[in-house]
Symmetry: C2
Subunit: 485 residues, 2 copies
């Protein structure tokens, strides 16, 4: 049975918190004298506070929280749905995005840290609107960091829990204190990196507005930029490299920073996912750099490597920034980026996609299977970071991989049904489910998602959420088992 009362209570609290963050774009509107926008945010904020506040008060419970795993799944999914529904309002009120469908798409793209945009002319939008758009990334990333590192591993989703959980069962009430403590540390790290990147961008001559918004997009591996040409608007190698670096940092498991803070460098270097992630980043960057250099896209290997490193970091971590129209790069470079779209960031990062740890796990499984075929009586154990993985976890990972590929094909079919060509359809599915942003063909980095059919925009909003919440979290809700008593 679902504890609807508690669920709605917590949900209204989440909405209040997110709505309060609208004070920031209000400040931006005030500073830039965007009075229309100021009031649009103000009305949304006030309305949301009143309604959510009332719901919050009326659903106040009998002292103790009783929360099951089931409630947890619903809460997480509903949070993203409702927060996007509210967050979309200022876009509509201000007239920046008149269609609610498009505003919802854009907001879900923000909170899910995807970065797929329907805006055709970004730079003509008010500052406060663009700021809010980027802030949804940052808030979404904040939610994901905690969810991915502290909550999801407890219920068996999201790869390996890096901070070992010693919790007995799936009841959230017992783990709240621990989650809260972990969350605090993670948020400090998130905030620290945000301040650091903003500072470094400011040092490179980027203005405060662009520094903040680009940092939000980087740290959340989101990809919204306030510039039409994305990060390509800045030709400064320093600025591009800073963003490359922080994209790579944001794609790392945030638990690793925790380990790093404890000066446990040994565990860091023992971490399979960390090593594989860096290895993939370096290998792909070099491959594309050589290709770009050979095909004469850029003059000089240094420049090729800078552009390739940026784009590899952007796609691998599922950020989606671009410094160049990579859809016009040589076919091999595109194919490498396409392949990276199937990988994604590390578990416990703000990055989306299948995630490096899952790829490693299934790789090891497949390799073990080959050994098993040669020696059917041998017993083979899959080891990760030196310790054996539980069979249950491997099954979950494998199920995830299959569902991911399955959803990819289903979404491709739906997009193609609306009259989009095959490569663009596949690419649209990949970049929304994987929370990447721009892709190939009709959704290339110099284009946008505006042209899609409204029904497809709603489907893709769902896809972004499903991808962001590690697939299972949303899909279990759709099973009949979920609703059985």
């Amino acid at each position: 049975m679902i504890n609807w009362r508690t669920l709605i209570h917590v949900l209204s609290f989440v909405v209040i918190i997110v709505a309060l963050f609208m004070l920031v774009p209000m400040l931006v509107a005030y500073l830039y004298g965007e009075w229309g926008c100021f009031w649009d945010f103000g009305i949304t904020l006030t309305g949301t506070m009143v309604i959510s506040g009332l719901i919050f008060l009326f659903t106040r419970g009998q002292g103790e929280f009783r929360f099951t795993t089931r409630d947890g799944f619903l809460l997480v999914s509903l949070s993203w749905i409702v927060v996007s529904a509210v967050g979309a309002l200022p876009f509509v009120f201000s007239g920046s995005i008149p269609s609610y469908t498009e505003a919802y798409f854009e907001t879900m793209s923000g909170f899910s840290t995807t970065g797929a945009s329907i805006l055709t002319a970004i730079e003509s939008q008010p500052y406060s609107i663009l700021f809010w758009r980027s802030l949804t990334h940052w808030l979404g990333g904040m939610g994901i960091v905690v969810l991915a590192v502290a909550v999801l591993p407890l219920i068996g989703i999201g790869g390996m829990p890096l901070i070992q959980a010693e919790f007995p069962g799936p009841r959230v009430d017992k783990i709240v204190p621990k989650v809260r403590e972990t969350a605090k540390i993670l948020w400090m790290i998130y905030l620290g990196l945000t301040i650091l990147e903003t500072g470094l961008l400011l040092l490179g001559g980027m203005n405060l507005f662009d520094s903040l918004t680009h940092t939000f997009g980087t740290m959340a591996t989101g990809g919204f930029s306030p510039r039409n040409a994305s990060v390509g608007a800045y030709s400064s190698p320093y600025l591009q490299n800073v963003i490359t670096l922080f994209m790579v940092l944001a794609g790392l498991n945030f638990g690793l920073y925790y380990i790093l803070l404890q000066r446990d460098f040994k565990s860091l270097w023992k971490n399979s996912e960390f090593k594989a992630y860096l290895g993939i980043f370096l290998a792909a960057s070099l491959l594309i750099a050589f290709n770009l250099q050979n095909q004469g896209v850029f003059s000089g290997f240094g420049k090729s490597l800078r552009y390739s490193g940026f784009q590899v970091a952007s796609i691998l971590t599922t950020t989606g920034y671009a410094t160049d129209n990579f859809d016009a790069w040589p076919f091999f470079s595109r194919a490498v980026l396409f392949t990276l779209m199937f990988i994604g960031g590390c578990s416990g990062s703000t990055g989306g996609g299948i995630k490096v740890i899952r790829i490693i796990s299934i790789f090891k499984l497949a390799f073990n299977e080959m050994k098993h075929l040669l020696n059917p009586r041998g017993v083979y154990v899959i080891r990760m970071n030196g310790s054996p993985m539980k069979k249950d976890m491997i099954y979950t990972i494998v199920g995830f991989f299959f569902l991911y590929i399955f959803l990819l094909l289903i979404i491709t079919l739906a997009v193609a049904f609306s009259g989009v060509d095959l490569l663009s359809s596949l690419s649209t599915a990949l970049v929304t489910l994987g929370n990447i942003g721009p892709g190939f063909g009709a959704v290339g980095p110099s284009l946008n998602f505006h042209f899609l059919h409204p029904a497809i925009k709603w489907l893709l909003s769902l896809a972004m959420m499903i991808g962001r919440l590690e697939v299972y979290t949303v899909l279990v809700i759709l099973t009949p088992t979920f609703w059985k008593k």
Copy 2:
């Protein structure tokens, strides 16, 4: 340790058998007065008989066969490699395909029942050459039927053994009598269906040459046609429908015919793979038919359904025949065909691809995982045809699925590296690894594989073999474990 002596002994025997089948194109050459070709086949046949015969005699062993699983893997892979090497010679000698690389590609495409062709003008080739080309399909299919139904399940590959094997271990010497008996029944079924289809095509007014070659391509789910326009050269609905029917029949598990011969209709209807396969065929045919009808590609729903049914059967069973240029169909129809390329035929059929049974198994696994997440203490068993599946088998299937997707991306990268666009590269990888034949873009049904770089042709020859031999069979040979004592 590899029993090289025995291995080479059996291998030379396989080569002799296949070479003897060259007597058939020699007969065709005689009938059509193609004397040049007659001697090209004659020389290849004689040369092969002499060399293989000598090797066969010199490697004769000490009475008893000692054959391990390891030897089995090597034998199967080497058979396809060597047989293609020999089978390619008449193409080169006759000047039909002057380049050995292209001849090898074409022959491997034949023996692997792929049907990807490098020929630019098919109808200008000698009859005997085209007959041999189609015969390689039929022989390849014959080998696969036995391999897939009788041999591979014993070593844990290839889905579920339909004819339950009661063999104790992996040593082939103990199972030879049983395999031989099963093989005989399967070949009778294969031969029977071949005669039946040829007869039905003759009845529809197709000439004997075209009837035989098209039947070879159908029964093996190969796809080579002696006509430039593939089956599209025949506008007769009857002929098209006969081929549709037999493609569907060839994509069925041949063990099912065995069951059918025993009048065990109940088991047939209980068979999950059979039902899913028919369901997919019908659903996809209807979806595409509606789409073709709506978009006005054909006039009338009946005609749309005929063309769609044909193409769905052709792609799902990995045959690769075409009655129309499906790469010019509406995007949704193309996306459905693209999705079918990830499925393939039934286990134990001559069809390639991932196979229906694997898709069902992983689907069930993923669904179980969702139940497991909701109730972590529950124990969930995956059932197939009413009985529980062993965990080992599920792991093997899952490893297969991952390796398949992984190889797909690697081959895509390699093809793109040679300067082919992304969709065509992906499509090339899909249709060779999946033994389908024509695909989308540069390898569409109205085009061919001639334009590819020689190195890519060799790679794709390998891909066709890997796909045909259920991935593991070839990949295990490439592991260091295989070569350890």
